[in-house]
């Protein structure tokens, strides 16, 4: 999986490319650990990632909770059809900001 972070002040955008699965979710987790300090708005761009398994959802939920505590926001953008189905089936479309 390729992860491309871009920081603009307190906004962090990460472009994900590939599959967010059990083997790759730790990569996203460690990038977030490194980059999330001071971030108020997190944007995760899924334009090139339409495969998100439960391991990926776990990282997203943990990050969502972390952002809430820090009084920040988290958005998922360019969500594809498969990932949208997963979010709807798990009720997470109502939790995350999905665009």
């Amino acid at each position: 999986m390729k992860l491309t972070p871009k920081k603009d002040g307190t906004e962090l955008t990460i472009q994900l490319s590939g599959e967010l699965n059990t083997l790759t979710a730790p990569e996203l987790s460690s990038l977030l650990d490194k980059e999330l300090g001071g971030v108020k708005n997190l944007i995760l761009d899924f334009a090139e990632c339409d495969y998100v398994s439960s391991a990926g959802l776990r990282v997203l939920l943990a990050t969502f909770k972390q952002m809430k505590v820090a009084k920040g926001g988290m958005e998922l953008t360019n969500v594809g059809e498969n990932f949208k189905d997963v979010l709807q089936n798990t009720g997470l479309d109502a939790v995350f900001g999905v665009f």
Partner: protein, 136 residues
Amino acid sequence: MAEESVLRIPARLEGMDLILSFVSFLLDSHGCSPQARTQLRMAVEELYVNVTLYAYPSGDGWAEIRGCVEDGIATFKLIDGGTPFNPLEKDDPDIMLSGEERGIGGLGIFMVKTMVDEVEYEYRDGCNQLTLRKQL
């Protein structure tokens, strides 16, 4: 009767790509839609990861995947020789809870149930056997 393909590997997390390549290879050779392919790969990922984490608490073991496509229906069977365990008996998570109220885990098996048409468990011949079926 469609020919069944079989792959048996050590039940380790590193083997996940191999298992998923097996799934893709079989589905691609039957002209499967990208959506059904992704859903079946994800369902198999969830079940295989469970095997690697929980089937053999005291050491190494094996996992086997069998697959075939017949009359437009894909069937995959995941087998291990570990501790008898039916993951399908686990309670479904409450998906109506807010983000703050939710635990971060427990979605994997629930997702499997939503992504395939049928999923069954049986303990047979000393093995856990999980069967997935999906119309392509």
